[in-house]
């Protein structure tokens, strides 16, 4: 049979398409699973493409995972799409605080049947899995665990004879000594992300008032206007006004402020474990300049240091999904040893699944000792139930918005700490009444 030139030209795109299809199947035989992702830098996008999408599609021939990176507005897009019935199969939220409204509205499916089939309840760490349980039903899987930590420039510490601080007095001594030498005590800036305010307030509330008092407040047993929280807010204001966060907190981006620490212009940074996965922050692996530790106590409520329980993202299945089985298969793929290793190697800190049977010691050898050490500490602390509570995981929406926006008014002397906390209590009480407070994990793991 001979082909005309026109037939040949027409056949080329079809042949090219067929050649690009994953092995063992044509596209029409596979059921598509859609997934919207939020923000991802270029490394992150490459990791998502290689370690998740292509690896999943190559691992089986029933489903075809399609991912779109939607950017910072993904949470807003998701809400609108879910209400309109046009959302993706896999619904990723920015944590339990965002999931609450979606789960309460029944926009995502209960995962209990899948959890039983794949033994998810036995495999995930209970404190994190329980943040997605509403009315006794599981609505999401935690994608990662995070915590605030104290990052510091160990070279600078060595040069100045500073030791790892173990309490507030030692922290303030280092900060004062740094200020006297013209070094910014804490590199911090919120010009590109106001959420930095809540990172800091998570540390102040938990490390001054203590995790037990925070738990009581989140349970409604203690008002936010109680003295331990007043002390926490006043300390944050005192540190801000003493210049511990530098003169340019509202002008610097997160990246610029973290680089100050790496470059020795600042001594420390109160930042999250996600910092490991952001190359532009300037940390290297292995790191000869930076070190990291859990944040020490800043009050009298407890001694030692504390990590803060956080789930940076949850994964659910949309109520309107035509392919819930496929979405669950993607979740199960994420629990494989190979995915855990490759994703944490390529994008450290972003997909640290809190799973019991994937212990963090598996990460040994990925060539990032600081990250390996931090994840191992987190795993142990969360397993033992020794943790504080992050605002972005456990505070309901309006209360958290006030926590973020209102603290600037406190720091800039527009309102008093009492007025700030009174407003927080009013909003929290209202949201608690409306069932908007994310569930708390049990007291022990």
């Amino acid at each position: 049979m001979t082909m005309t030139r026109r037939q040949l030209v027409a056949a080329i795109p079809a042949a090219a398409l067929a050649a690009n299809l994953p092995r063992g199947a044509r596209a029409e035989e596979r059921k598509v699973v859609t997934f919207w992702f939020g923000q991802a830098n270029s490394d992150g996008q490459a990791a998502l493409r290689n370690d998740l999408v292509e690896a999943f599609n190559a691992s089986q021939d029933k489903y075809l995972l399609q991912m779109e990176v939607k950017g910072a507005a993904v949470n807003n897009l998701l809400k609108v799409a879910l209400v309109a019935g046009n959302g993706p199969d896999i619904v990723q939220t920015a944590g339990p605080a965002y999931l609450t409204a979606i789960a309460n509205a029944g926009q995502v499916l209960p995962l209990d049947d899948f959890a039983e089939k794949y033994k998810w309840k036995e495999r995930f760490l209970a404190p994190l899995l329980n943040t997605s349980v509403y009315g006794g039903k599981l609505y999401a899987l935690p994608r990662d665990y995070e915590s605030m930590h104290l990052f510091y420039n160990k070279e600078l510490f060595k040069q100045n004879g500073w030791k790892q601080p173990t309490n507030r007095q030692e922290m303030e001594e280092i900060a004062d000594a740094a200020l006297a030498k013209g070094i910014i005590p804490f590199g911090a800036g919120n010009a590109d992300w106001k959420g930095v305010n809540e990172w800091l307030m998570t540390v102040f509330l938990n490390n001054v008032a203590g995790p037990d008092n925070v738990r009581k407040a989140l349970s409604g047993e203690l008002p936010w206007t109680a003295p331990p929280f007043v002390e926490a807010v006043e300390l944050s204001k005192a540190w801000f006004n003493k210049g511990y966060f530098g003169k340019n907190y509202f002008s610097l981006t997160i990246e610029q402020s973290f680089l100050q620490v790496v470059n020795g212009k600042a001594a420390m940074a109160l930042n999250g474990t996600w910092s490991f996965g952001t190359k532009s922050y300037g940390m290297s692996k292995p790191d000869t300049v930076m070190d990291v530790m859990p944040t020490p106590s800043l009050g009298s409520a407890f001694t030692g240091s504390l990590v803060h329980l956080a789930c940076g993202a949850t994964l659910s299945i949309a109520k309107t999904s035509q392919n819930a089985e496929g979405a669950a298969a993607v979740f199960e793929f994420m629990l494989t040893r190979k995915f855990y290793e490759t994703m944490n190697r390529d994008w450290p800190g972003k997909w640290a699944l809190p799973v019991k049977d994937l212990p963090p010691d598996m990460l040994q050898g990925i060539g990032y000792p600081l990250f390996e050490k931090t994840i191992a500490n987190l795993h142990e602390a969360f397993s033992k139930g020794q943790y504080g509570f992050t605002t972005w995981t456990f505070w309901p929406g309006a209360t958290n918005s006030h926590l973020i926006e209102g603290i600037e008014q406190v720091w800039l002397n527009k309102i008093t700490p009492d007025a700030y906390l009174t407003r927080m209590q009013t909003l929290f009480s209202q949201e608690a009444k409306e069932g908007k407070v994310p569930p708390l994990p049990p007291r022990t793991a």
Binding site: N75, N76, K79, V80, L82, V83, A101, I102, N104, A105, Q107, A191, K194, K247, N248, Y249, F250, S251, L252, Q256, G397, A398, N400, S401, E405, E408, Q409, W411, L412, K414, K436
Partner: protein, 282 residues
Amino acid sequence: MWLFALPALLINICIILVPAVLTFTAAFFMWDGVGKPAWAGLANFQNMAADPVFWSALTNNFIWTAIFLTVPVCIALVMAAALLMAPNARIVVQSIIFLPRIIAVAVTGRIFQGMIFSPATGIVAWLNERGFSISDPLADPDRSLYAVAAVDIWHWWGFLAVVFLSAMRQISVDQIEAARLDGAGFLALFRYVLIPGIRPTLILMLILTVIWSFQVFEFIFIVTRGGPAYGSEVLATFAYRHAFFEGDVGQAAAAACVMSLFGLCATAVYLWLQITDDAQST
């Protein structure tokens, strides 16, 4: 005539009237954006009135309106008159002053934030290194609104100047020449010939400025997100925060109704002026 207007009318009903009615209705409900709305009566308006941030946002909208009714309008009028008098420079100058208008808002915002105001990477940093003690105005709650307004004025005044110049070019050359022969200088010509000659265009732009000033969002959201400490918060950022960060769509809709109210008032004034003009000319 109705058949002729039908396509435009249908489009307007679908994409303007229906969402407007839904937004107005949402203002009377408690709704988190995904669940079932619950009737709230006037509670959203009452809560809004009790919130000091709403009042400071509203005040900021008035300040913004006052700034944009004066500063860019005055600059644009003077530039347009100057260009009218200097036709040789018109093409080049118009192209230059119109340029900021065609740069994306996000790009303009980031340029001012990172390359001008930033004490780390901007001109402010450069000046500080040379002994000038200048702080970032975006980081000061008492100055941030004015700093963002300056960015928007840079972006906006060239467009206004081009509009005013187009209007001035419609004025009869004979009228301008006659004024000059009568000994009118630049100021007298400006006051008694050019301004009255472009009165309809000027009024339209002023009315639109009022409407747009109560809808202002992009520059503020990109550059300061309403901060710090709500220093540059306006009604649109107030509504956005309630809708998308606090899950309170009803409250956001109530704020949107207030924004629309001012737009409606400005439109009513414009229509009244048109009717008055028509009555005077007949």
